[in-house]
Amino acid sequence: MPTFAIRDAETLERRSSPDRPAVVFKHVSLAFDGKAILRDISFTLLPGHTKIILGASGSGKSTILKLILGLLKPDGGEIWIHGSRVDRMPEAEMMKVRNHLGMVFQEGALFDSLTVGENVGYKLYEETDMPLDDVRRRVEEVLGFVRLSEHIEKMPSELSGGQRRRVAIARAMAFKPPTLLYDEATTGLDPITATTIDEEIVKLRDIENVSSIVVTHQLRDAFFVATHEAIRLGDQIEISPADAKKCDEAEFIMLKDGVLIFEGNAAELRASTDPYVQTFLS
């Protein structure tokens, strides 16, 4: 496996200590022009676990991901990423923290002037000292993981919507971040393509031990990710229904108008008596 050093940062191994929570939100609040977007949000994402953030459009789901990445700063509360407090961190230092985080944007946000291979290897080419041959090998490896090896030389405009999302996943995982954030990764895709994306999320979590935050309003995809696991069988990776212990590692968060109204696993979500949760699930 090729090794590489991310500029101005300690190695990934040292940063992603297994006993430190991947993400911690403590009483986080945010408002734009006097309108509250998030109010007193608190949760913890443990390493290798999954948080699935549900909620209607405009409930503040994607804002949480932008706060984690430091693209927005909260008005109050604390945000911790792998042991570093980031809610007041300057942009230059935030760049180093982002080496812990991979993000899959809603529409993929692929760089349309670069090929698929250049998109996937972007961070390794531009922000690390990794030799070009090793970058190429890593790009081929992650494109193989998302089953898009034959598209390495294509431009993003030549790909379908589902393929673009998978390339976005490959780009986010190429530099092996310990935490991945998915912003509506399956929205607008047909159920079959959406399932392939869900499988990639499960594979990354279980095979690569990546902590995940999945923002979605697609219940079908949310429950698929929460109730399935990936198991390596020789050269093959099999996706199958998860046991109860594994299911407990995926927790749901339900947002309503910027307020956290539910936190618990899939079984607890289904059993919730909250009227809003019940309406959302129906």
Binding site: I6, R7, K66, L69, G70, L71, E91, M95, K96, R98, N99, L101, G102, M103, F105, Q106, E107, A109, L110, F111, D112, Y122, K123, E126, E127, R171
Partner: protein, 257 residues
């Protein structure tokens, strides 16, 4: 009414503050690492070589029409043989820098605003930041360097083909002797004129590109916003070229003459 005025003033002050912040970040990006060298080379090609055709055509026809018009005026004083003097002074001191600036405002100002604007609305700028890349260093610094260094080169080329265009009209339409034309050009040129013609494009190139980058990075509102940013960038950069030219000329006249 007063409320609207206060809001307008606030947004104007905020815009100036953000523009200055972008300048500071850009200048810091020029002198510190990481420095994206291949993006700089790419932008030198896109802004420099890519603008060559429009600058050549503009310069040539400006010189040609200047010869035609000034020929008629100079005839009234029996001074047609001095047409070269007028063309060289006008092209090198004023028309070369300003017209090249205006052409670049239209071509690269709009291109930069549209490119960065579409990157903003498709989340590519956020993706860059998420991947640990500072968009100012990656996108703004290479464009500013290319604009700053290539605009003077393009201006010199524009001046040269303008004088050539004037020569063709002077010799073949006005019947001025070729040797007289070239002699009058060199006779009328002073070192201060050359300095003025070469200093101004550095500043104009910088202004055009930074306005394009600022407007592009501030794009809001989807594809409609990209269109609005493109128009705003061209208008603002064109006005800035004329205005900055006036103020820089005033300063240079004080310093050089």
């Amino acid at each position: 009414m007063l409320g609207l005025l206060i809001e307008f003033s606030k947004s104007a002050v905020l815009a100036v503050q953000e523009y200055v912040q972008l300048q500071v970040a850009t200048i810091r990006g020029v002198f510190s690492r990481p420095f994206y060298f291949h993006d700089v080379v790419e932008q030198f090609d896109a802004i420099g070589i890519g603008s060559l055709t429009v600058v050549l055509l503009t310069g040539f026809f400006t010189g040609a029409v200047l010869a035609l018009q000034s020929g008629i005026t100079l005839d009234q004083f029996g001074a047609r043989p001095f047409v070269g003097r007028l063309i060289s002074a006008s092209m090198i001191k004023e028309l070369g820098p300003v017209l090249t600036g205006l052409m670049l405002a239209g071509r690269i100002g709009s291109g930069i605003a549209a490119e960065l604007g579409s990157m903003v609305v498709t989340d590519q700028i956020n993706a860059l930041r998420a991947l640990g890349t500072d968009p100012v260093r990656k996108l703004v610094v290479p464009r500013v360097l290319a604009g700053f260094f290539m605009t003077p080169v393009l201006t010199v080329i524009s001046d040269t083909v303008g004088i050539l265009g004037g020569w063709i009209v002077a010799v073949y339409q006005l019947g001025v002797a070729s040797s007289l034309y070239w002699t009058s050009i060199t006779e009328a040129l002073y070192l201060q004129d050359a300095w003025m013609g070469i200093i101004k494009p550095f500043i104009l190139g910088y202004v055009i590109v930074t306005i394009g980058c600022y407007v592009g990075l501030g794009t809001k509102g989807g594809t409609q916003g990209v269109g609005r940013s493109t128009t705003n960038a061209v208008v603002a950069a064109s006005v800035a070229v004329i205005a900055v030219d006036y103020f820089v000329t005033r300063v240079l006249i004080t310093l050089l003459y």
